[in-house]
Point group: C2
Chain length 249, copies 2
DNA sequence: GCAGTTATCTGATGCAGATCATGGAAACAA
DNA sequence: TTGTTTCCATGATCTGCATCAGATAACTGC
């Protein structure tokens, strides 16, 4: 007789539609991306960004929109997704503060080929792509760092291709949960809580399966005592066991 | 009573293990990548590369090898592939002269996470990653171009994820054939011949299916009069019909 | 031209996971 | 509290494609 439990994920509801100028500076200077620049340089860069607040679920941009901006998450979480012809979405990534998205390539792309959406109330720093290019011109080290980030993302995307072409759903879900736990996990009474609203739908979009199948797998994991889960939340009870699933043949 | 036909793909068997210094300069200066640099600058860059010849099927590097080099295809074709846990390969890309591969990110990766293999006798220009970084430092425009290339590749990888998660094999194959035809096609008596040895195995690795299924789909396409194909070769008879398959719902 | 090898074709069978369908439980609003 | 909405669980069924297995055609070397 198992019953679902109340969500332990507390959504911060402070109004983040504005992040103070002060906050901005702190955020920018703390980004690994800008970490090697002088305070003065960061200040200069700071001035070229504007900030925009987004509500939960609000669209930041959509596939096909003219790709002329680059975004940096200052506060909140941002979903990057693509859409299949059949109308289903594929969730490519969930970005945390400090990560950038949008258009870095000024030459190539003229339209976004993915969509971005605030997964929680968020404050986003925005800059025009060409203005960002100027920054890269002034600080060539940054271009190299950006290259590294892109290389890492390319690798992630390739890993996902491998997953889709050779792993059963259970393993894909295990890998995804592990990744989320490491990235967004918070310890909460003897379990590692994934501290973001996470529905079966989200999970199925991340692993390219259906909500029904995701639900079945989650049920199994729960009976096996590996996770604890309810409506829009997941906690890891036995990370070791989860890693075994993610790793095993 | 259909029978397979002799391969119309003529493999160039001139010995390309060496590409002359002269050829190197011509290749480098013709790369879109270096196109905006002065001849003198290209000469300087040229001197920092060494060249290596590879035979058909020879490994250039393998997953896990220390990632310390960047490669540019001068002549021939190079396969980029990853390996699944079950031993099957996934073919990520086939690179033509002018495209680079290997490690651009000097900071992040310490080991290659894919493998590269000569798909035809090839001449490859090689440079140490850190030396390449120096070139990027000296010519910041190049870093921006590299960023564009990476962004394009990331997008391609994401497209592939979409394909795997939502399209049936037939459509994936149609898309792949179209891409190959555009990239490597050569007109030959009323058909557009894909001018590279292309087996059912290759095709299945590109579309993440099995050789058997690829073979079945190819048979269908052939009976439908859309393609003509035999042992290790494919020609497109009806590009329009192929595009329809690739596009259709 | 012949033998051996490698690539391709095609049938038969099985299964992971999609799809369809229904009931129940958390959250939310009034 | 009570209704309403959204999310989740779980059974029943169906199917695209993998897997296994064997036959045949194209290439290679001698």
């Amino acid at each position: 007789m198992k019953s679902r439990r109340k969500s332990p994920v507390n959504l911060v509801t402070t109004d983040p539609h504005q992040c103070s100028i002060d906050l901005r500076m702190r955020i920018l200077s703390r980004l690994p991306f800008f970490s090697e620049l002088s305070r003065k340089a960061v200040e200069g860069i700071n001035q070229r960004f504007i900030e925009v607040g987004y509500e939960l679920g609000e669209r930041i941009y959509t596939v096909g929109d003219p790709a002329e901006k680059l975004y940096v998450v200052a506060e909140g979480k941002v979903k990057i997704l693509q859409h299949t012809a059949s109308g289903r979405d594929v969730l490519l990534d969930i970005l945390s503060p400090g990560e950038f998205f949008g258009n870095i390539a000024a030459l190539g792309a003229t339209a976004y080929n993915d969509s971005a959406e605030a997964q929680s109330p968020s404050c986003i720093l925005v800059i025009r792509s060409d203005a960002f290019r100027e920054i890269l011109d002034e600080h060539p080290e940054l271009a190299l760092k950006a290259l590294d980030v892109m290389a890492a993302r390319l690798n992630e995307a390739n890993q996902r291709v491998i997953q889709l072409s050779s792993m059963p759903v259970e393993k894909r879900i295990a890998i995804t949960l592990r990744k989320l736990a490491l990235k967004l996990g918070r310890q909460k009474d003897s379990m590692l809580l994934i501290d973001v609203p996470l529905s079966r739908d989200d999970l199925s979009e991340m692993t390219s399966t259906t909500p029904e199948t995701a639900s079945r797998v989650m049920s199994q994991l729960q009976s096996a005592g590996i996770i604890e889960s309810g409506r829009q939340w997941v906690g890891i009870l036995d990370l070791k066991a989860l890693e075994n699933l993610a790793e095993k043949d």
